[in-house]
Symmetry: C2
């Protein structure tokens, strides 16, 4: 769980005894490509930290089609964080796009962290702020950036994504059709 420890240390001072207890509450999991690590209609009880692999967040839209809303890669957290915090049922599928190595961080570890860890609340604040900013950008960009710009920006957010993800998922994330995407890729990049 060394990568998780480093990710935390980039945000706060981490005492060794706090890390020891916190990490003892977490679990390592390996997951096969294609597996859903979280599904709708269930109250999520965990946040995942990706040590190796890639995950997508997907919903089924009103027409019954899969829509890819987010991606997450190595050294990022992934969860239905809203449903986790509000203890409501999830609307999302979290799917392994590759074989995964993840740290499963259960609710009791997170709550222990808030209450007992030096800087635990600060850690929670910084993580919430990071994902707030990501979402805010996602909304803003739909208005102020062209599909080409958003396509290129994806490559900075998720290095290599244009190689490791099927085009239809990228089109869905960008909110355009696969035909539009393939036209974009032939033109002014």
């Amino acid at each position: 769980m060394q990568n998780l420890k480093m990710a935390i240390q980039q945000m706060i001072r981490l005492q060794e005894k706090d890390w020891n207890h916190f990490s003892s509450l977490c679990e390592l999991r390996t997951v096969k490509k294609g597996t859903f690590i979280s599904v709708p209609e269930r109250v999520p009880q965990e946040v995942f930290f990706i040590q190796e692999g890639k995950v997508r967040t997907m919903v089924i839209d009103l027409q019954g089609n899969e829509q890819t809303i987010h991606f997450a890669i190595e050294n990022q957290f992934i969860a239905d964080y809203s449903a986790f915090m509000q203890r409501t049922v999830s609307h999302y599928y979290l799917q392994a796009l590759t074989d995964l190595n993840v740290v499963l961080i259960p609710r009791n570890a997170i709550e222990w962290g808030y209450e007992q860890m030096v800087d635990g609340q600060k850690l929670g604040r910084l993580i919430a702020e990071f994902y707030f900013t990501y979402h805010d950008n996602r909304i803003l960009n739909m208005y102020v950036k062209s599909a080409v710009e958003r396509y290129n920006e994806m490559g900075q957010l998720f290095p290599g994504i244009h190689q490791w993800v099927p085009q239809k998922m990228i089109a869905s994330y960008l909110g355009i059709t696969p035909v539009h995407l393939s036209r974009l890729k032939k033109t002014d990049r």
Copy 2:
């Protein structure tokens, strides 16, 4: 600033001496309808708490049109929170839709709160989580809710909005045309 005090007390334990110092760093402002309380190309140095009135967040899109992205009402915070946190220039206009009474919470008050207030980090976490959840819902709903459902939900989030906001701003928030909106309102609600 009694409403701000109550809003904070709903989230954390607030010590009287902490409130006294924190509130002494804040400023009361009255603002005329139509005024921009924050504009693009400037690093935001404050968060606003709305005591009375309504605000919208607006961007100019690629075609040069105004797009209304968010609203905020009494007892809510409003800011370009991403730009504030990252100390980057804003992309948003924050505009008073009515005459306003706001508390201007400057950066030094917020930083003092994080460092010195009992539960200051927790307060920051809860506020960031609240706005994360709002944004997450906004993205999710574009996929899983019809325009009619999203129209009705706006009325729960922002009571009375359908009376106090021009229809073109509501259409913009919903991501539909004003013509589509007026058709919706005549049909199956």
